[in-house]
Subunit: 347 residues, 2 copies
DNA sequence: CTGTTAGCGCCTTCAA
DNA sequence: TTGAAGGCGCTAACAG
């Protein structure tokens, strides 16, 4: 519980103190502070001097109440693991800053689900909210929608909400087809659980689609979360089953990296015995030998676009149901491709 | 510029609408909403029903103005590169959430310095601010201090502000001594620029101290930033100079990783020809072969502690000048130590 | 147990 | 170009 201030300490300088100090009315102070309306140079000078001397700073809450705007955007993200969410956050924050909006961040961790109260408090303090897909139940989102513009990011085929995402299905199909056609693999499996995140579900769909198109049987996905431990576990199962595949399409890089690590230790040769791909292009994907073939998403743009879309809604624009950003497959050694020259990331 | 609402759209339900709908006074509604004061079960029921039916949600700004508290903490961080800042942010957010405080995040990027206006707006909307060390000039911080409790995180020997940091100097000295005594290195150099961040300066101080203690000459630090490109550049210079060292202590892991990458490509053997160490224990440090010897910091705790300290200040406690959290040296193959068994991170 | 009534600090017509 | 005054939505005495 937030502790309430015991004593009403003398709050800092207010618009009244400044007005008094400058010998003008609060209306005038307000005008010079926001550069609104016309104020004579002399008066402006007096006010500015007073502001500086008193260290005056308009109280955000009071202003918000008056203008009926929070001038802030909310963002709900899961744990900040890997570069994905950080990038998203950076894009969002940068765009918000450009729009003179602040961002209120709320994180949802595995052991700390977002209770309705926390979410409500977030919504109550911002002009619009962007929520990562799969984090909140639909009814909670629906409820928020009645209060503020809401945008679902990377929400798969979220229906009924405006949403924005990077392309998944097509890239996953392309990646899978690459494994089949270019590297002649015939028994690929997908490592990941479609119910873990909408993104993963779409990647699995692309994978499935590619196999079907070639008339190949579609093996059941191996399941598992998105963390290194899940990759290790998947590797163990593959080993226990006598390596029943010649290619694995992993839900993300963390899983792929840990999986490769474990398999290589067990003597499996990558990519000769098994081709492996990931998703996200994390830093370690470049340092692994062979380099990890993966998919790079324009995550930062996704974040920026989310902020802009939200702002448009706040200022009156109509919702734009969908939005999909293109991704790019990054081929490296782990799928069997020749290893590209090593270099720092190309921005 | 934030666009002002053109039309005064009919704002959502207010405490008045609810009161009217429930046939009670706004005071009663306020009471049931915050669970304050005593309300008869019957009345409470009516109010709750009305709230639910109207989808009422108290406006944060109005409440803040009335209670004279924003119930929010501000956090200023640089670009969210690597796991360091993400962890810090997660710790901060988690602690804040526990205290029923929201967090307003502001990022400072290289090409987007924090102008006074943006910082002021942040400060004006929160009850306290935590700022990463080295990001803002002292006078800006000083000014903020007059408005709100302020805490500098990882700010080196910041003087005049309450601050909190992970230990750097001692670990750096221990790491350096390890290179000298255990692995018999005699010509170590430091890769990093002390002016880039307070943390780096302290690491260099530890490095320097260790050499002095052994009566060794202290080479000038090689300089450079904290990104992969800086590591590559340092490697180039080392190669150009004919590898004038047998050990390098890098300012962080990104630099160390890129440096190793470049040197290995050039035929340098790590750790035989050159021992290398980093700082932060990023994921790639574990996947590199040999594994990268580095230092792990309790970053998450640092973030959580920052939020708690700030909250204490907001609720009246006195500032606690300093605070230092212990770090841990993680020995792997890159310094010459035997490679530990590979495994997922131990929480 | 419930209602009345001042503010909280700022913005913004409306007059002067 | 300036000031007066009402209102934004909510909290918190203070009465009843």
């Amino acid at each position: 519980m937030a502790v309430r201030t015991p004593a009403r300490e003398p709050s800092g300088p207010t618009i009244y103190s400044v007005a008094e100090a400058a010998g003008v009315s609060i209306a005038t102070v307000s005008r010079v502070v926001q550069g609104t309306g016309a104020v004579s140079a002399a008066t402006r000078g007096k006010v500015l001097e007073a502001i500086d001397r008193l260290d005056y700073m308009p109280l955000a809450a009071a202003r918000s109440l008056a203008v009926r705007h929070h001038e802030a955007l909310g963002l709900v993200l899961p744990e900040l693991a890997g570069p994905y969410f950080s990038e998203l956050l950076m894009g969002f924050e940068e765009a918000a800053a450009e729009l003179d909006l602040s961002v209120v961040l709320t994180l949802v961790e595995r052991d700390r689900p977002l209770d309705a109260a926390r979410f409500t408090r977030l919504v109550a303090g911002v002009d619009g909210v962007a929520v990562l897909g799969g984090l909140l139940p639909d009814d909670v989102l629906r409820r928020a929608t009645r209060q503020r513009p809401l945008l679902v990011v990377a929400g798969g085929d979220t229906v009924g909400f405006e949403h924005l995402a990077a392309e998944n299905t097509t890239s996953a199909a392309a990646l899978t087809t690459h494994l089949l056609d270019v590297h002649g693999r015939t028994r690929p499996v997908f490592v990941g659980d479609p119910d873990v995140a909408p993104d993963v579900r779409q990647r699995l769909e692309g994978f499935t689609h590619a196999l079907r198109e070639r008339g190949l049987e579609v093996p059941a996905p191996m399941g598992g979360g998105l963390r290194e431990a899940d990759g290790t576990a998947a590797a163990e199962r593959l080993l226990a089953d006598g390596l029943p595949a010649d290619a694995v399409v992993c839900a993300n890089d963390e899983v792929a990296l840990a999986l490769v690590e474990r398999l290589v230790t067990a003597g499996v040769r990558v990519p000769d015995d098994l081709a492996v791909t990931g998703w996200d292009d994390v830093m370690a994907a470049r340092y692994l030998r062979p380099g990890l073939t993966t998919v790079r998403q324009p995550v930062r743009d996704l974040g920026a676009l989310a902020a802009h879309r939200l702002h448009e809604r706040v200022t009156g624009a109509d919702p734009v149901d969908h939005g999909v950003l293109a991704t790019r497959v990054v081929l490296r050694g782990s799928c069997g491709c020749p290893e590209p020259a090593r270099s720092a990331p190309t921005a």
